[in-house]
C-alpha cells in the first residue's frame, strides 16, 4: 500500500497519498489533481466516459476481473421512466487476506468519491450507494467527512460541478456478514433483507438494487477510474500486461518481513514481490505455500510460485486465481491442515444457509478437518473431503461453497502427506 512500507519498484498511481493525512481533505486532494477526472467525464459525455474506461482495459478489482467499461455498457442506454439506475460501490471488503479497500477509503476518500461520481455518471445513475463493511467505523468516518465536503462544494448532489447532472451518494454500512460482499447478497442487504445472494438471471444491469438497473463495482475499481479519465485509457495501459492492464494493489500478509499493500503493475513476478518488495521470509525460513488471491482460491505450492506472474492470466496458468491479489505467504512452519480447517470454519460461519450443499457441506467439511487436525482422522476422510468438495462446486446460487472447495482440494492434492501424517499418528496413538 505504499503504507506502511514503500518500495522502489512500486508504481503508485492510486496509492501515492497513502499515509499522508493531508490528502484526505478536499483541498488537499484537489492539490493532488483530484476531481479533474469527473470534470473531464462531464465534458466528454457519458458514452465517451464508458469508452475511455473500456480503452483502459481496467478489470474489476473485486476478484472476478471482469472488464469495467464492458460492465458499464450493459446498462440501458436511456433511463426508462420510473426505472432509476443505481451504482453500488462494494466496500464490504471481507475476503480473508484482503485489506486494500480500507486503505483507499481511509487515506484517499476523495479518490473513491470521485470514482463513484464518474461511475454513476457513466451508467446514468442519479444515486450511488457505497456499501461499507460494518467494522470499518474509522475508515467510514473519514469517508463521511469527505462526502460532507463534496456535498458542500457542489461536487455531489443535484448539480454536479454546475453541469445540471444529479448524483447523490449515500454511505450504507453493513452489520457483519461476509456474504454481503457477493454482489446480489449486498443488494439484498442494502434493501434491508438477510444478505442472501439472489439467483441470476435477472442480472443486476436488468434488475438489481430495488429491482432497478444496477451496476456494482469494487472500491479499488472505482478508485482507479479518476486517473483513467484524467489521463486517458492509453495512459493506464502503459502498465501491466495486454490482458491485465494497469496497476493493482497487492495485499501481502503472512510470513514476510514487510507485509502490507504494494501498488505494482500487473504481471509482476510473485517471487520478486515476496523476496524483494516484501523483504523475504523472516528468519531465513523456506517458502511452503502461497494463497495468491484471497482465501477462496487454490493454494499454490512453493514450486508453482517460482515463475508465476501476478496477473489474471499468469496466476490462472499457475493453477490458481489472482482474485483480489491478496497474497498470503506461508513458510515452512505453517500448518496447512490447521489453516485449511480455519478457512473451513470461516466459510461455515459465513454461509448464508440458503443452498443445501453450502449450508451442510461447509459445516461438514469443517468438522471433518477438525477431527483430522485433532488426530482422529481416518484414511478415507480425504476421499470424502474431495468428494464433498466436488459436490459443493458449481451446485449453488453463489460461489461461497466453491470458495471452500478450492483450498480443500488444492491442499489435499499438494500437501496430502501432512494430512496423512496426522491421520496415521492419530491411528497409532489410538492403537496404543
Amino acid at each position: 500500500m505504499a503504507y506502511p512500507y514503500r518500495h522502489d519498484r512500486e508504481v503508485r498511481v492510486m496509492s501515492e497519498a497513502f499515509g499522508d493525512p493531508a490528502a484526505r481533505t478536499l483541498e488537499g486532494w484537489k492539490a493532488r489533481g483530484g476531481y479533474q477526472g469527473i470534470a473531464r467525464a462531464l465534458e466528454i459525455g457519458r458514452a465517451a466516459t464508458v469508452d475511455e474506461v473500456k480503452a483502459s482495459g481496467l478489470r474489476g478489482r473485486g476478484g472476478a476481473g471482469f472488464p469495467t467499461g464492458v460492465k458499464w455498457s450493459f446498462m440501458p442506454r436511456e433511463q426508462n421512466p420510473g426505472r432509476p439506475h443505481y451504482l453500488l460501490c462494494n466496500a464490504d471488503e471481507s475476503e480473508p487476506g484482503t485489506f486494500k479497500d480500507r486503505e483507499i477509503i481511509r487515506w484517499t476518500p476523495h479518490q473513491l468519491v470521485e470514482g463513484c461520481l464518474i461511475g454513476a455518471y457513466a451508467i446514468g445513475a442519479a444515486h450511488c450507494y457505497i456499501y461499507l463493511r460494518g467494522e470499518f467505523f474509522e475508515a467510514t468516518g473519514v469517508l463521511a467527512q469527505a462526502l460532507e465536503e463534496a456535498y458542500a462544494a457542489g461536487l455531489a448532489g443535484p448539480d454536479v460541478l454546475g453541469s445540471g447532472v444529479q448524483i447523490d451518494l449515500t454511505l450504507h454500512v453493513g452489520a457483519g456478514a461476509y456474504i454481503c460482499g457477493e454482489e446480489t447478497g449486498l443488494m439484498n442487504s442494502l434493501e434491508g433483507r438477510r444478505g442472501e445472494p439472489r439467483i441470476k438471471p435477472p442480472f443486476p444491469a436488468a434488475a438489481g438494487a430495488f429491482g432497478m438497473p444496477t451496476t456494482i463495482n469494487n472500491v479499488e475499481t472505482l478508485a482507479a477510474v479518476p486517473g483513467i479519465l484524467r489521463h486517458g485509457g492509453e495512459w493506464y495501459r502503459q502498465w501491466g500486461t495486454e490482458k491485465s492492464p494497469g496497476t493493482k494493489l497487492f495485499c501481502v500478509s503472512g510470513h514476510v518481513s514487510r507485509p502490507g499493500n504494494y501498488e505494482l503493475p500487473l504481471g509482476f513476478p510473485m517471487m520478486d514481490l515476496i523476496e524483494d518488495v516484501c523483504g523475504g521470509i523472516p528468519g531465513g525460513k523456506a517458502l511452503k505455500a502461497v494463497i495468491p488471491g484471497g482465501s477462496s482460491v487454490p493454494i499454490m505450492s512453493a514450486d508453482e510460485c517460482e515463475s508465476c506472474e501476478l496477473c489474471y492470466e499468469g496466476v490462472a496458468a499457475a493453477g490458481s486465481m489472482l482474485g483480489c491479489a491478496s497474497v498470503i505467504v506461508m513458510d515452512e512452519t505453517a500448518d496447512i491442515v490447521k489453516q485449511v480447517r480455519r478457512m473451513a470454519d470461516f466459510y461455515a460461519h459465513e454461509s448464508c444457509g440458503q443452498c443445501t450443499p453450502c449450508r451442510e457441506g461447509t459445516a461438514w467439511a469443517s468438522r471433518i478437518l477438525r477431527r483430522i487436525e485433532e488426530g482422529r482422522g481416518k484414511p478415507d476422510d480425504l476421499d470424502t473431503l474431495l468428494q464433498i468438495s466436488d459436490q459443493m462446486t458449481g451446485t449453488t446460487i453463489c460461489v461461497l461453497s466453491d470458495s471452500l472447495a478450492a483450498p480443500i482440494v488444492s491442499a489435499i492434492e499438494k500437501f496430502r502427506d501432512e494430512f496423512l501424517a496426522l491421520i496415521r499418528r492419530g491411528e497409532r496413538v489410538g492403537a496404543a
Binding site: 439467483i199 454461509s351 440458503q354 443445501t356 450443499p357 451442510e360 461438514w364 458449481g394
Partner: protein, 543 residues
C-alpha cells in the same frame, strides 16, 4: 402467484427435448413443470407451485445442453430447442450429493416421525441417494419448538426449504415466520414466543413441509401415513367448499388435507375447516329405519318403512307441506326432498337453518379463498333449490310455524336440537330423516337413517356457484342410506313408476334434468374440480 404453467388458450408455446423426448409447453413454463408434464417427476423441496421459487434446495438440478453448470429446473424457463437431461450421470451425481448433505444432520427418527411414509426426504433418498452414509460426526441438535396454534416444529428435521416462511409472507401475508441465524445454525422460528396463535391459515405450513419438521399437534402420533385411506371431498366447514381429502382409518376421519383446485382454494384451506372433522366422526348414529309415533315406534326394514310411507303420502295428497332441509346435505338429496314434497301437495315452506360467522376471513395471497360467513357447505345449493334460510346465526329458532304445522312435515338433516319434544305434534304426517336422532323427533311417524356427505357420493354448490363432487370416505353405519336414494325411490313411486336413480350419477343427471340451474352439467364432466352452475342463481362469484 406463479400460474402453474397455465396460460390462456392460444398463448405461445415452446418445444424442447427432455430426456430424449420432445415436449411442447406454454412459454414461461419452468423445466421442472415441463418435465412433470412429460411424465418425469423431478425431486424438489423449495419449489412449490403456490409459492415463489428461491431455487435454494438444489435438489432439482438438471443438465441443460450448453450451460456451463447444472441448472435448477424450478427457475430455468423452458426454451425452444433446449435439450435437457434429468438423468445424466452428472445430474444424478449432484442430486445424490445434495441428498447426502441433507442426511449429514437430518435425524433418522423416522420411526417416531409423523411424516414417515409421505416424507420427500425418504422418497428421494430411496430413489436416488447413496447406499451408505459417510457421516462420522455427531448430528446437530436443535430440539422441538411449539409454534403455537396446531403447529409443532422439529428443527432437527428441517431441510430449510423455507416454504413455510414464504407461505406466511406471500399467501397469508402475515410474516410471522422467519429464518433465524444463518448457515448451518439457521432454524425457522417466529418472533420469540409470539408463535402462530391466531393465524387462521397457519395449518397450511404443515401440509407444505416436505419433511416432518412442521407437524400438526392434533395429528401427532395418531396414525401412520400408510395406514390412511384418502378420499377426495369438499370441506364442510363453510360455503367456500375448499377441495379436500378425507384421510381416514378405522372408519374415522383422522385429518383433512387441502386438495388443489385453482378456482376454489389453490393449495390451501383454513384452520377452522381443518379442525372441524370431529363432527364427521360423531357417534350415536341412527342405524335403522323406524315407524310409529312416540311409544308406538317400532323398527322397520327399509322396504316396510318406505312402503308404509308411500301409502301415507298418497293418502295425504293435496296436503299443505312444509320442508326443513339442511345446508349440509347434498344437492341431490335436497332436490329429491323438494320434489317429493311437491308431489305430495302444496309446499308452503322450504327452509334450512345454518350457522353464520360474524365476518369472513380471507386469505390475502389467494383472495378467492375465504372462510365464509355461512358455516355450511351447501348453503348456495339449498338456496338454488328453493330453500330459504330461517333462524338465527346460531342455527336455532325460526321453526315456530313448522313446529305447529298441521299438514305434512319433512325434516332432513336438521337434528332440531333447539326444538321441544312437542315439535310436529299437530302434523298429519311427520317424516324425520337424519344422521342422528332427536328428542324433537318423538312425534315423527317415520325416522329414517341417512348418510352424511362423508359416507356417500354427491354434490354441493359453493359460494362461487360452483358444483363440486365429493366421494364416500367412511362406511355408512347400519342401514343408513343416502337421502337421494331414499327420496328418489319415493319420488319414482309417487310419479307412477318412473325409474328410481340407482347411483349418484343417475341422481345427478335426474337433478340436471329437473332443475334449470343444473342444466347442461354432467356428473362425469364435473370431475374432481367441479364446474359452475349453468345459470348462477345468486350471481355473486368469488368476489
Amino acid at each position: 402467484m406463479p400460474d402453474n404453467g397455465r396460460s390462456p388458450a392460444g398463448a405461445a408455446t415452446v418445444t424442447l427435448t427432455i430426456d430424449d423426448r420432445e415436449v411442447t409447453v406454454p412459454k414461461g413454463t419452468s423445466l421442472l413443470e415441463a418435465a412433470a408434464l412429460q411424465g418425469t417427476a423431478l425431486p424438489h423441496y423449495c419449489y412449490h407451485p403456490g409459492l415463489s421459487a428461491p431455487a435454494q434446495c438444489r435438489i432439482c438440478l438438471v443438465e441443460v445442453e450448453g450451460a456451463p453448470k447444472l441448472q435448477p429446473s424450478c427457475v430455468t424457463m423452458a426454451q425452444d430447442g433446449q435439450v435437457v437431461k434429468t438423468d445424466s450421470p452428472e445430474a444424478l451425481k449432484m442430486r445424490k450429493g445434495v441428498l447426502e448433505f441433507y442426511l449429514v444432520n437430518h435425524p433418522l427418527d423416522c420411526p417416531i416421525c409423523d411424516m414417515s411414509g409421505e416424507c420427500k426426504l425418504q422418497d428421494y433418498v430411496f430413489a436416488e441417494g447413496r447406499e451408505h452414509g459417510r457421516g462420522r460426526e455427531p448430528k446437530r441438535v436443535f430440539g422441538r419448538d411449539d409454534f403455537g396454534g396446531d403447529v409443532l416444529y422439529y428443527g432437527d428435521r428441517c431441510v430449510m426449504c423455507t416454504r413455510c416462511v414464504r407461505f406466511m409472507d406471500e399467501v397469508a401475508r402475515d410474516s410471522r415466520l422467519t429464518v433465524v441465524e444463518r448457515g448451518s445454525r439457521a432454524v425457522i422460528d417466529t418472533f420469540f414466543d409470539e408463535g402462530l396463535e391466531g393465524a387462521s391459515f397457519a395449518g397450511n405450513v404443515v401440509d407444505i413441509c416436505p419433511v416432518g419438521a412442521l407437524v400438526s399437534k392434533d395429528f401427532l402420533h395418531k396414525a401412520r401415513a400408510w395406514d390412511l385411506d384418502s378420499t377426495p371431498s369438499v370441506c364442510p366447514g363453510c360455503s367456500q367448499g375448499c377441495n379436500i381429502e378425507l384421510h381416514t382409518r378405522d372408519n374415522l376421519v383422522q385429518r383433512l388435507k387441502p386438495r388443489e383446485n385453482a378456482e376454489v382454494n389453490g393449495h390451501w384451506m383454513c384452520d377452522f375447516g381443518r379442525a372441524n372433522y370431529e363432527g364427521l366422526n360423531r357417534g350415536g348414529r341412527l342405524e335403522a329405519p323406524a315407524a310409529g309415533r312416540g311409544a308406538k315406534r317400532r323398527p322397520a326394514g327399509w322396504d316396510e318403512a318406505l312402503g308404509q310411507l308411500f301409502a301415507r303420502l298418497q293418502a295425504a295428497a293435496g296436503a299443505d307441506v312444509k320442508i326443513v332441509g339442511s345446508a349440509e346435505w347434498s344437492c341431490e338429496g335436497l332436490a329429491a326432498l323438494a320434489a317429493v314434497g311437491a308431489e305430495t301437495g302444496e309446499v308452503s315452506a322450504r327452509v334450512f337453518r345454518s350457522r353464520c360467522a360474524a365476518d369472513e376471513d380471507r386469505l390475502p395471497g389467494f383472495p378467492a379463498l375465504a372462510r365464509r360467513r355461512d358455516l355450511a357447505p351447501n348453503v348456495d345449493g339449498a338456496r338454488t333449490l328453493g330453500f330459504s334460510r330461517v333462524g338465527g346465526e346460531d342455527a336455532a329458532g325460526g321453526l315456530e310455524e313448522v313446529a305447529a304445522h298441521d299438514g305434512v312435515l319433512f325434516v332432513l338433516g336438521d337434528d332440531l336440537a333447539d326444538q321441544e319434544a312437542a315439535f310436529g305434534e299437530a302434523a298429519s304426517l311427520f317424516v324425520y330423516m337424519g344422521a342422528h336422532g332427536s328428542e324433537a323427533a318423538a312425534n315423527a311417524d317415520f325416522v329414517l337413517p341417512v348418510t352424511t356427505f362423508a359416507e356417500q357420493e354427491g354434490t354441493f354448490v359453493n359460494v362461487q356457484q360452483r358444483v363440486q363432487r365429493f366421494w364416500p370416505g367412511l362406511r355408512a353405519p347400519g342401514e343408513a342410506r343416502p337421502a337421494w336414494l331414499v327420496l328418489g325411490a319415493l319420488l319414482a313411486a309417487l310419479r307412477g313408476g318412473e325409474a328410481a336413480p340407482a347411483s349418484a350419477a343417475a341422481a345427478f343427471s335426474w337433478l340436471a334434468g329437473e332443475r334449470a340451474a343444473f342444466a347442461g352439467l354432467s356428473y362425469e364432466g364435473l370431475g374432481a374440480e367441479g364446474a359452475p352452475l349453468a345459470a348462477p342463481a345468486g350471481g355473486n362469484g368469488a368476489a
